[in-house]
């Protein structure tokens, strides 16, 4: 029965067996994917090695506050779709009653939820949405049998036509630098008080490094952050891939010479000297060596994707994080039928116009990606037809301007997701839904237009329309920015009318 939960003799859901789809992981990616599958009536199993839902938020971030906000007071009501732009942490649903789970859980002391609040929000969403998980069920290996994937787990074998892996980018990684075997990884950071009075050396200058530095400012006697390239800050980069605003304090301290030092240097080796360390560095620009004494050294050098034995099935991976190579719909580029949800989705670059990438590594990006991948899986692998509602041509301009003004998908995944409308074979205008922008731009298809929200080379946020004609998108139609992001002005209506009239007739 579509969408129903199968229980085994032990009362636990989803006993080993044959399912159309198996989802692995009970973090936000897995729970969101499961909810989206149920929304389309697709029977599936959701399994996880963890004892409870929450994924990485059961443990990280160390210093207990998230990077992304949920604003309790916003211009839109909590259970509206538009409010999702003001709530970066709740999972999403088409059912209003399942939206905005996070705000009532927060204690009101900050618009950045605490780690336990986030963990609770994922659990609460799962409970309210009826998402059940077979916990303590570890995915161990994988093989192909005919048209089925076989996932071997600690509980037995699961067969499926398609699998969604939402296992995070959670395996600590350290480079093979001499001496690094003796230093701690970010994941092994101890309670802050244990660093009191210590000289701390942090390898890395990404968010995790600055998170540690921020959390330990009140404890360490000196903090050095070092990595080869200069630190990039989100406020300069117009992208959340940079160091987030909440972690800028160490930079200010470094500017004031107040016990924090930020070096652009490679780390050549770490030498253990009794109970302390000597970190041998080399300046990136001058090549000058410098040895830095430290009581504690922490490698904030990133994580890898725990993809088990998927390489043996032909899944290609890339980069230090060993992310899988994926299509625009988060399917393995080399093994069709294997999809990736959650933070792994950051491996899909999108258009990256002006260097700005998507927010797929965060919940507020990944939650929409999950919808896209489930829809792709459902139509391509399970033969489901998803209805496309028609839109009256006279309403098209207003609809598209409303979308670029307030659609949470377009604002949370700027330059990556778009709203698309097409002229169908019967001559009607149809809503294609939210689509990956790169796929719209590169894939041939019926005439239509997709709209996205983007940041231009000067840092201004504005709408951009991409019109497809005779099977291809030949360029972009940028609409002007507005000081208050009001994209419903007469000027915007006129410009959007010009874009739309070419395929939908004069509105």
């Amino acid at each position: 029965m579509a969408g129903s939960i199968v229980h085994g003799a032990d009362g636990r859901p989803y006993p080993p067996g044959d399912y159309p789809v198996v989802v692995v992981g009970s973090g936000p990616g897995g729970v969101q994917a499961s909810h989206c599958l149920s929304g389309l009536g697709i029977r599936h199993a959701l399994i996880s090695a963890d004892p409870a839902p929450g994924g990485m938020f059961r443990r990280f971030p160390f210093f207990q506050r998230l990077l992304s906000w949920t604003k309790p007071h916003a211009p839109y009501p909590h259970h509206s779709r538009e409010y999702e732009w003001y709530d970066l942490n709740s999972l999403v649903s088409d059912e209003p009653g399942l939206r905005a789970v996070m705000p009532p859980i927060m204690d009101g002391t900050s618009d950045f939820p605490s780690r336990p609040e986030m963990e609770q929000a994922i659990l609460t969403f799962a409970q309210r949405a009826g998402v059940r998980v077979r916990q303590d069920c570890r995915w161990e290996s994988t093989r192909r049998e005919g048209d089925r994937f076989v996932l071997v787990t600690s509980d037995g074998e699961y067969r499926c036509r398609a699998a969604i892996l939402a296992v995070g980018v959670a395996e600590p990684w350290k480079p093979p630098t001499p001496g690094f075997e003796a230093i701690a990884h970010y994941a092994e950071t101890r309670p802050a008080a244990t660093y009191a009075g210590k000289r701390l050396f942090i390898v890395g200058k990404q968010n995790s490094a600055f998170e540690l530095a921020t959390g330990l400012l009140a404890w360490a006697s000196r903090i050095v952050l070092a990595s080869p390239r200069p630190a990039g800050f989100s406020i300069n980069m117009h992208s959340l891939s940079g160091i987030r605003a909440r972690y800028v304090q160490p930079r200010e301290d470094a500017n004031l010479g107040n016990g924090v030092f930020i070096m652009d240097a490679s780390i050549e080796r770490v030498e253990q000297v009794g109970s302390t360390f000597r970190v041998h560095t080399r300046d990136s620009l001058t090549g000058e060596p410098l040895a830095v004494e430290a009581d504690e050294v922490i490698a904030a050098t990133g994580f890898q994707c725990p993809l088990q034995d998927l390489a043996s099935l032909g899944v290609s991976v890339f980069g230090q994080s060993r992310l899988p190579s994926m299509t625009a719909h988060f399917e393995s580029a080399t093994v069709p039928g294997l999809y990736f949800a959650g933070t792994i989705g950051q491996g899909v670059p999108g258009l990256r116009r002006f260097g700005i990438g998507p927010n797929s590594g965060a919940v507020h990006g990944a939650r929409y990606n999950a919808r896209l991948l489930v829809r792709d899986l459902a139509t391509r692998h399970l033969g489901l037809e998803i209805p496309r509602p028609s839109i009256a041509p006279a309403k098209l301009v207003g609809y598209l301007l409303d979308e670029v003004s307030s659609a949470p998908e377009l604002w949370n995944q700027q330059g990556f997701l778009a709203r698309a409308v097409i002229r169908a074979a019967d001559g009607s205008t149809r809503d294609e839904g939210i689509v990956p922008l790169a796929d719209w731009v590169d894939r041939s298809g019926p005439d239509g237009v997709a709209v996205a929200v983007e940041t231009d080379e000067r840092g201004a946020i504005h709408p951009v329309a991409y019109r497809r004609s005779a099977g291809r998108v030949s360029g972009e139609s940028p609409l002007p920015p507005h000081p208050l992001h009001d994209f419903r002005t007469a000027d915007h209506q006129r410009l959007m009318s010009e874009v739309v009239s070419a395929f939908a007739g004069s509105p």
């Binding site: 080869p228 390239r229 490679s266 890339f318 580029a333 990256r352 002006f354 260097g355 590169d442």
Partner: protein, 127 residues
């Protein structure tokens, strides 16, 4: 990789951290003819086709780079660059290329050499 062959170990490490690694499936466009906001790419693995108005004009492979003309001239690319198979590249955003080249004149010189070679070959072809 020729472009970076004059860099010392510390500078190489900086370059490695400055570029981001990306992966593209076969047939995926990386540069798009006529679209603004593209980047600079160095091929780590795989091949790309330089495609103008649907016609393949050249191929690039491991160690080659593309995207620099568009960024240096601040104009949209005049060609599509399309992955001919699974492709791994190093990517540098538009805004970061100038700073990177100014920090590493040896890379700029290598890039100039390649651009000059491509111009010479284009002139020969047209002649």
């Amino acid at each position: 990789m020729t472009l970076f062959s004059d860099l010392g170990p510390a500078q190489l490490a900086e370059a490695a951290h400055t570029f981001s690694e990306e992966s593209y499936p076969a047939d995926q466009r990386i540069l798009r003819q006529g679209f603004t906001g593209s980047g600079f790419y160095v091929i780590l693995e795989g091949q790309v086709a330089i495609r103008i108005d649907g016609q393949d004009r050249a191929r690039l492979g491991k160690g080659d780079f593309f995207g620099e003309m568009s960024l240096l001239l601040a104009e949209p690319p005049v060609a599509d660059v399309v992955a001919l198979g699974p492709l791994r590249v190093l990517h540098l955003a538009d805004r970061d290329l100038r700073e990177f080249l100014e920090r590493h004149p040896a890379v700029m010189y290598r890039m100039l050499q390649t651009v000059a070679r491509r111009l010479r070959n284009a002139n020969r072809w047209q002649g």
